[in-house]
């Protein structure tokens, strides 16, 4: 990154050229002929390419990024190269996604270049534009991320936060609905979603380069209570946006269950540093307990308890199992512990598959679990009207899960800052040293497993009612790995990280149904790449960031991050209060 093989003026020209080319690319046709599944979206197919300036969809997104890039490369903005590089990656991503998809669907390069005397170079132009933008930033080393003032008058800061969170709500809604619901009517929802991710990611990277993201996170740390209330409010407002259809609410609720579970796993893995490869078993235990106590016809117990009791019982039973699974931690460490947890997870799965005690339904699952009921008897899967707005069915589950996640987050945050949380972190860093400092490591470790299991058990109880069918297939080893991957992808020990990780890992398969066959392959490769290039995750915890991206005890540089942020800890950083 520090090589200066380009002189600044040339780099500047490259940047401007890249930005202009991106704008041009948005106005070019992208496909020479109509693909078998239908014309490429947003009138990007040559035949339908009648109005180059009427941009929609991904071409509009590309155009926007191009304009921003042009402005940023002409006008002097802070951290210019960082911003341009982020935008460049966005442009390249949009170009690459469309290039690959059209090539694959159209059966060759003819579809994206020239065929039958017609030419459509949109995606190639976008790729080149992205390359130019990125190349232009190699001229000089990247700048420091600017630091913005965080001692403004309180109302101004509140306003800043409000606007930021409103934008966040809008972005979440856009992301959920981007590309639309996949299916026969909309065969290209996958690439359109990925294009949108490229667009959003590019703008986010630019915002991060400008220091805006850091400013927002500083502000929200400063006004903690206010931010939490506003964030909750935003979460409750999501059904009122475009994402408020039954389908998206179901997707959001599913993500929510796994996000809550991932936060629970984060206690075990992220805080206490104990690798758990069978964690999904606790979600399963919670779900099966709730299923058996729900009055479902298939349950052999035939007991129907009110939901709040069910949640408590699920949590308690999952917690007991958590303590049992955690008990070997007294004697077993590190990798061996991972194997013990894997073994417990497999035992659970085999037991559930064989319908142990008639409690799990075996391969028949436990179907027809009745939905939860609101106090006035409204079932949670009915549609409701709130403030005069009709909301789709499933929205009540969404609200319930938002509350669940908020509660789990609160538990996690308090635990993390408690005496026990500090003990966990100490154990994670060095178990022997922690013991020498007087921490009862055995008790602390079992408690970590217990807390994680309780959270998963609660999530499981909600899961059972939400999906209405609980079977062992939902709790296989791969689910444990996926949850672990969510924690790692987001950043171990970090709450927003776990939510982001779970969202990505459970939204992407939903969006890329056309590639469901390749899901696990991509997933496996992604695990390898994350560990190689960004082991600290997308939103690293502050301690963790210093630890994983800095140097380890032996002085080896651990992670050469691509460097969208200087990762070194900054001891001189004093919070402006």
């Amino acid at each position: 990154m520090t090589k200066t093989f380009l002189s600044p003026p040339i780099a500047r020209i490259l940047g401007i050229a890249g930005a202009v080319l991106a704008i041009v690319a948005a106005m070019l046709p992208w496909t020479t002929f109509v693909l078998n599944k239908g014309a490429w979206p947003d009138k990007a197919t040559l035949q339908f390419f009648d109005a180059p300036f009427a941009l929609t969809g991904f071409r509009w997104e590309l155009f926007l990024v191009g304009i921003v890039a042009l402005v940023c490369s002409v006008v002097k903005v802070p951290a210019q190269r960082r911003v341009l590089r982020g935008l460049g990656f966005g442009v390249a991503a949009i170009g690459l996604v469309n290039f690959l998809f059209i090539t694959a669907e159209g059966g060759g390069l003819g579809a994206v270049t020239a065929a039958d005397g017609a030419s459509a170079f949109g995606s190639v132009a976008a790729l080149v534009a992205g390359g130019l933008l990125i190349l232009g930033t190699f001229g000089q080393p990247l700048e420091e991320i600017p630091r913005w003032k965080t001692n403004l008058p309180t109302p101004v800061e509140y306003l800043g936060l409000l606007v930021s969170f409103a934008v966040l709500l809008y972005v979440v809604s856009l992301t959920l609905t981007a590309g639309g619901q996949g299916g026969a009517a909309n065969p290209y929802s996958g690439p359109m979603f990925l294009s949108f991710l490229g667009f959003g990611g590019g703008l986010m990277a630019a915002a991060a380069g400008l220091g805006i993201l850091r400013w927002i996170s500083k502000l929200s740390e400063k006004h903690r209570a206010f931010s939490i209330i506003v964030l909750l409010l935003c979460a409750f407002l999501l059904p009122f946006t475009n994402a408020g259809t039954e389908y998206w609410m179901t997707v959001a609720a599913n993500i929510g269950v796994y996000a809550a579970t991932a936060i629970g796993l984060n206690i075990v893995v992220g805080l206490a540093g104990l690798l758990d490869l069978g964690y999904v078993a606790f979600l399963g235990i919670g779900a099966f307990v709730a299923a058996n106590l729900s009055g479902a016809a298939a349950s052999s117990l035939g007991i129907h308890l009110p939901f709040y009791l069910v949640v408590i019982i699920s949590a308690a039973i999952a917690g007991i199992f958590g303590a049992v699974v955690g008990s070997p931690t007294l004697r077993v460490r590190g990798d061996y512990l991972a194997i013990v947890t894997l073994a417990f997870g497999e035992i659970f799965q085999i037991a559930a598959r064989n319908n142990i005690g008639g409690l799990t339904g075996g391969s028949n699952s436990i179907p027809n679990i009745p939905p939860l009921q609101w106090f006035d008897g409204t079932a949670y899967n009915e549609s409701i009207t709130l403030f005069g707005t009709p909301l789709p069915s499933g929205v009540l589950y969404y609200f319930l899960i938002v509350v669940l996640i908020a509660a789990v987050m609160a538990v996690f945050a308090n635990l993390k800052n408690s005496r026990m949380g500090r003990a966990w972190i100490a154990i994670r860093e060095d178990e022997d040293a922690a013991r020498a400092m007087g921490i009862k490591t055995g008790k602390a470790k079992i408690l970590a497993f217990l807390c994680g299991a309780v959270l998963a058990g609660i999530a499981g109880a909600v899961f059972a009612h939400k999906t209405s069918t609980v079977g062992y297939e939902s709790f296989l080893f791969m689910e444990s790995v996926t949850l672990l991957a969510a924690v790692i992808l987001g950043g171990m020990g970090s709450i927003p990280g776990a939510v982001l990780g779970a969202s990505l890992l459970f939204v992407l398969p939903e969006k890329l149904r056309a590639f469901s066959d390749y899901r696990l392959l991509i997933f496996g490769l992604a695990l390898i790449l994350i560990m190689r290039f960004r082991p600290q995750g997308l939103i690293p915890d502050r301690h963790r960031r210093a630890e994983l991206a800095g140097e380890d005890a032996e002085g080896h540089t651990l992670a050469e991050t691509p460097g969208d942020e200087p990762e070194q800890p900054r001891p001189q950083e004093v919070p402006a209060r």
Binding site: D335, A343, E346, N354, M478, D517, Y518, M531, D552, L558
Partner: protein, 305 residues
């Protein structure tokens, strides 16, 4: 009695497979302290490599002659496994040599998932179990009422022979000494003029070759393979390695046989039957880890490699 003896035979056959795979786990863990989750998949890919060789390379005329096809398939399986393991080591594990312990473990999980999926997606017909040629003498040796499949006998004999050879190689040869030294202390080994990287690569290669051979013989014995054989047998093999004491060659193989016997005998006599036979293996694993983490031979046999 007959049932018991019969189950013992089946247990020993399964144990032979598990033992061969376990050698790779135990050597790799002994030297780089990595639970190589991908090792089970390397075993699986070895079997598929041999099957591909049989299907597309070996000429139609000699397919029936087992003394030609068997060596060719074993070599093919071993080579495919070894090349794959070396690629994985170079691309996935080597860059993480000095990373925190969690990183390579998760990478290994990722490699395992990716390998399994790659075979499922790109090996023709691998979405379902595939028939595997019985490239050896068919039939059984009857010992009284107990039947001993000849392919199973081959598996056990090969396991014991290869283990003995490996033990001799590690104890006597120069490279074997280098492996033991690296396992004990890579830094001091480096000072003694040993190239740890080369030693690690060799360890991965030997482990993969053994897994590849195991994959081929396993396929020949059961006459069908699927993409799921890797994960399952990999877990068994890891259990065997732990049971025998990580780092111990002898322990891995004996552990393998014990695991095989536990599975078949528990499936026959313990409550739950074959539906729960896996559970007993995991119970053994947990019990060993909790009560004797050094395994059966972990302490008596100090030599690791």
């Amino acid at each position: 009695m007959t049932t018991l003896l019969q189950q013992l035979v089946y247990g020993l056959i399964l144990g032979g497979t598990v033992g061969l795979i376990a050698l790779g786990y135990t050597m790799v863990y002994g030297i780089v302290q990595l639970i190589n989750f991908a090792h089970g998949e390397i075993f699986m890919v070895g079997a598929f490599g041999a099957l591909a060789t049989f299907t597309w390379v070996i000429p139609e005329g000699v397919k029936g002659t087992w003394y030609i096809t068997l060596p060719l398939m074993v070599i093919a399986g071993a080579v495919v496994s070894m090349v794959l393991a070396l690629i994985i080591e170079r691309l996935a594990y080597k860059p993480l040599r000095n990373a925190p312990r969690l990183a390579p473990l998760i990478t290994a999980l990722g490699v395992s998932v990716a390998l399994k999926e790659a075979v499922r997606l790109w090996y023709p017909g691998a979405t379902a179990p595939l028939p595997f040629p019985k490239a050896f003498l068919a039939g059984n040796i009857d010992i009284g009422p107990v039947v001993f499949p000849k392919t199973g006998l081959l598996l056990i004999v090969v396991t014991i022979v290869l283990t003995t050879l490996l033990q001799i190689y590690i104890n006597k040869s120069r490279m074997g000494r280098a492996m033991r030294a690296t396992a004990q202390d890579p830094d001091v080994a480096r000072l003694m003029g040993i190239n740890p990287d080369r030693t690690i690569v060799l360890t991965f290669a030997i482990g993969a070759v053994l897994a590849g051979v195991a994959g081929v013989l396993y396929g020949i014995h059961l006459t069908n393979i699927s993409i799921d054989i890797g994960f399952q047998n990999g877990i068994f093999a890891f259990t065997a390695a732990v049971l025998g004491g990580i780092g111990s060659i002898r322990g891995a193989v004996i552990g393998g046989f014990i695991i095989g016997l536990v599975k078949t005998i528990a499936g026959q006599y313990l409550p739950g039957g074959t539906q729960y036979d896996y559970v007993w293996i995991f119970v053994v694993l947990i019990a060993v880890l909790v009560f004797r983490p050094q395994g059966l031979f972990g302490e008596t046999e100090r030599v690791r490699a």
